[in-house]
């Protein structure tokens, strides 16, 4: 186990440097990229805080759409397994299975919640805007 600072505390320090030193003292392209870098650090902090919950939720939701499968025990394997499941869902949509009817409703509902979780990391302000509730 590493000593303090934690990952989050260290990233917070980097984001602070980008905001208070880089952005405050630069213009143009460097200033713009400083802002993009700071936003990326803040995004990583949100992702680290939520990824276990979000990956588990996406897996459970896909169980509802594609049928139940056991989730790999290690987080490092879950991403690859989820990609395979999303590929399967994509192929079913391409085959026309979700053009209408109950399966379309199930797929749309699943994608609402999954994309919302992605936005909570990448653009929480947009997620908060919401639209139709499901």
């Amino acid at each position: 186990m590493q000593d303090r600072p934690t990952i989050d505390e260290l990233l917070e320090a980097v984001a602070g440097y980008l905001r208070d030193d880089v952005m405050a003292n630069t213009q143009g392209r460097t200033n713009f990229h400083g802002r993009v870098a700071m936003n990326a650090i803040e995004m990583i902090r949100r992702e680290i805080a939520t990824q276990e919950e979000h990956l588990g939720r996406e897996w459970d939701s896909l169980d509802h759409v594609l049928g139940i499968q056991p989730m790999p025990p290690h987080l490092s394997e879950v991403r690859e397994a989820l990609t395979a499941r999303n590929r399967e869902l994509s192929e079913r949509i391409r085959a026309g299975d979700a053009d209408s009817g109950d399966f379309r409703k199930v797929v749309m509902n699943h994608l609402w919640w999954t994309v919302r979780d992605k936005l909570l990391v990448s653009n929480p302000a947009l997620a908060a805007e919401g639209h139709v509730t499901h």
Binding site: A37, T83, S100, V107, M108, V115
Partner: protein, 336 residues
Amino acid sequence: MDAATVEAGLKKFIGERTGHEPVITNLARLSGGAGRETWTFDADYGGTHLEGIFRCDPVAGVETSAARTLEYQLLKAAMGAGAIVPEPLWDGDDTFPVKFFIMRRVPGEALGGRLIRGEQYARAREVIPGQLASSLARIHSISAAEHPELLQLTAPAEGVSPAQTELDNYEGVFRTLSPDPHPVFELAFRWLRAHMPNPPERVLVHGDYRLGNFMYDETGVRGIIDWELAHWGDPMEDIGWLAVKSWRFGGQKPMAGIQDYEAFFRDYEAAGGSPVDPARVHFWELFGNLKWGVITISQAFNYFSGRNRTVEMASIGRRTAETEWELLKLLEEAGD
């Protein structure tokens, strides 16, 4: 390119065209515009003070679209048709190892969020929608008969609709470049393929006509820029693109974040645009959100492939979810 290279090239190039070697000052590379390098400069020669913009491809030997090589001709045609654009000054030659041209710098800024929120732009927000509608109608009036040089731009093949042409193009990019599956995009491609319009019109489509791609100041629009995606197609494509969620920059109205659909359609028709078909605009708005989603994937790919290793390119891959969110909303509204 580095600043010294640009400065030396500009001296030589402008010197050859004007007969006076210029003094170049205030040379600086501008941010944004991921597809091209843009530099601002002042040139003083023979009593003339020129405020210029130098546009060039980022890397020598990279495949360039016809629209990119024709950006200078497009600006000339658009200025002739009465659209608000920066004045094109000189098309490039082989002074630099990359393609380039020079245009007059227009005042103002282009950042979308600042127009939506800036208190100093309250008056500009009132006049800009009408100017955008009018300039777009003028661009759509440019004919291939009067501008045969623009026939090099991509156009739908005989018997193929503009919608199918654009869908094939962006679906091809998506299937080639995306490292991950995107079920939302699959739903969008299915819906769009089932609802492709096929109007007889073929006009010059700007292809990237949106907030962020025109210069503005307190008085309104100063110049439509970023012509790299121009092509021949359905005029409703540009109108739908202007309504894409990401191009509202948080603004509450659909057209560029600052205008309602109906008012914009009226202004476009009043400026000589062909009658607006709201259903086709809706098709192109949905397509536009998908197109921007595919572009975010291709820009992130520029980072993965090593072509453009900036934090901007890498981060843009995380904007794909925004387009999925809007697509789900539009698909829900559209029904089966």
